[in-house]
Amino acid sequence: MVLNVEKLNESNTITEQFHFLMENNFIEQTSQHTTYYNSDDFILDPDSEADHDESIVSVRNNRNDDSMSPYQTAVTLEDGRGGQEVIEVQILPQDENWGENTTAVTGNTSEQSGSIEDVALWPGSESDSGIKFFCHRYITSIVTVLLSLIAFLSPLIMLILPKVGFFPSVVATLNDHQKAMLLSCRTECKGMLITLVFKMILLAIGSWAVFLRRPRSTMPRIFLFRSAILLLILICCVAYWLFYFVQVTEGARGTVAGEDELEYKILVSYVSSQVDTLLFIHYIGVILIEIRHLQPRYYIKVIRSPDGESRSYAIGQLSIQRAAVWILERYYTEFPVYNPYLEQLPVSKSKKSTTSFKFYDVDGFTNSDLQPSQSRTVLNGHSRRRDSSHNERFYEEHDYERRVKKRRARLITATEDAFTHVKRITHDPAGGVPMIPSEAAQAMFPSMARALQKYLRVTRQQPRHSVESILQYLTLCLTHDLSPRAFLEPFLVTAPVLQNEKEQKTIQNWSLICNDLLSRPMKNGITFQLRQNDVSLLCTVYDLPHFNISEEIIHPKSNRFFLKLSSETSV
């Protein structure tokens, strides 16, 4: 195998030589994207020794055998005789399965066309399991629970500590009589203890009712309000404990000195005021986290990308990440199921070639003079096809809808017929063998199976419903005496997304993309996008207008009319 060396010699730079070799399939591509080797990558050293068998341009540079095998070539550049560059072609051995591992399988055929495999280059989301996700998900809950427990139990602990004898250093200075005096709790004090107990019960009920829930979302940035509340609780606890110790020691010293400052009653009232503070913090927490965003302030429009479904909602003042969670809740309960198979309408029988060709620019340098005319013809071709494809699309959609309606009507009749065969044992005791609902379902299913299967096939829903799930659902319908239309409802109405069993996972990962910081509050004009696999939701925020309502008084005396029988007008 001889390489036409003169032609190779004409192109002077390494890059062009590489081009030449590539075009003529002398070099294989083993990477996904072609890479251009600059002449800087190679050091062409004409003065070096003669035994450079290193092939500079070939990708396989570890087979430097001299034995000939007729399937591979490599180019070596060595010092020429008399200053002339001589390129010597060597045939290097290669394994026989040449065709199997040469080109990588990609959607790219040149570096200037796009490929959906590029999706793999996007940063992947974290997996559902693993210690990192677990930590991230539960760390805030754990911290919150710990802090709340500490805050809740500290009043009790503060009350119990003196009784248990936690302050030996302090108490040691007092004699028994004073100790008994300090720790005594008479009627007034007992009354305060009762209010304290009630307040703690109310605090416990309040916290349980509103805050002790399974967290419904893990947000990427800090949740400002929750962190503020936790900070408040922390400060409150720290302050109260600090002052508690100060109070006890000072009080004990005061009692020793005979001023009789500390009484248990005062401690109880102090603890009671702490519980008051905690209750008010709880109130503020409820206001900030639950109530503030109830009043609608913005109008959000959510558009789903692959199929164009959209919904609009009125939303209150929330940060961007919380708004994303809010929207996702409504997405799962209101948006229709996304059916990726409905993207391509059924091809018409005439099988016209509707594929558009891609316009490649393989050699960007040499085709520059041809580009304007080429692109013009391409554009003209596109526009012509677009004109006819308007009609095609209309007729295809029309045809498809007709087919769907036809099959739907047949399905409904078939189901109604099938349901008339099955009767409850109380209604018709003279029937045949009594069966349990699952058997009855299996018995009557074949009569409508064909119509159902055809309908599912036309609406491309058959991956969503398996035979077992359909039979199970039929059993349920029979048990509850549902009508045939009720049985058909999940197949005919493809509404909320969570109806699709594949979507009913415990954890759903979505990625949130926004230009602004995610913990900032929403403002007019912000857009953010939520992505999961193929589905992306673009959300745009608009302000709700301020409504200026003014009163208009219409005097009831103006509600008088008179009849004008002969119409005469004076001009």
């Binding site: 002969s566 119409s567 005469e568």
Partner: protein, 120 residues
């Protein structure tokens, strides 16, 4: 024939040309308007059988002319039928349209049919 005209059919009759120059005056709300000083009645949306003056077709009739008004000065008389006003045909107009056309311009060139004068 002019006074029993079916609106929309072709008709040929004699008419009196009247030029009326409007004068400024105050209307019912006190605004300054140009007044002609007469009242009209009739129109294709009205029923001529209910007219108290006993008109016999759906044309525009002058039902009243105020004294000393530009209408009186120009020679308009009551029970005249207005056939044309500034080129607008008044044999097939609604009442409101007739009023609008009259109020439009400050000078009116009317073609009027009068019983006993232009026809018997």
């Amino acid at each position: 024939m002019a006074f029993q005209h079916q609106a929309g059919t072709a008709m040929e009759c004699l008419s009196i040309p009247i030029t009326l120059q409007k004068e400024p005056g105050l209307d019912s709300e006190g605004r300054e308007v140009l007044k002609c000083g007469f009242k009209i009645g009739g129109g294709i949306d009205q029923d001529y059988r209910k007219s108290p003056q006993g008109y016999t077709d759906n044309g525009i009739y002058v039902t009243e002319v105020h004294d000393g008004s530009p209408a009186a000065k120009s020679g308009l008389r009551t029970h005249d039928k207005i056939l044309q006003c500034n080129g607008y045909d008044f044999t097939m107009v609604t009442h409101k349209k007739a009023v609008d056309y009259i109020r439009k311009h400050p000078k009116l060139n009317l073609l009027v049919a009068r019983k006993g004068v232009t026809s018997t």
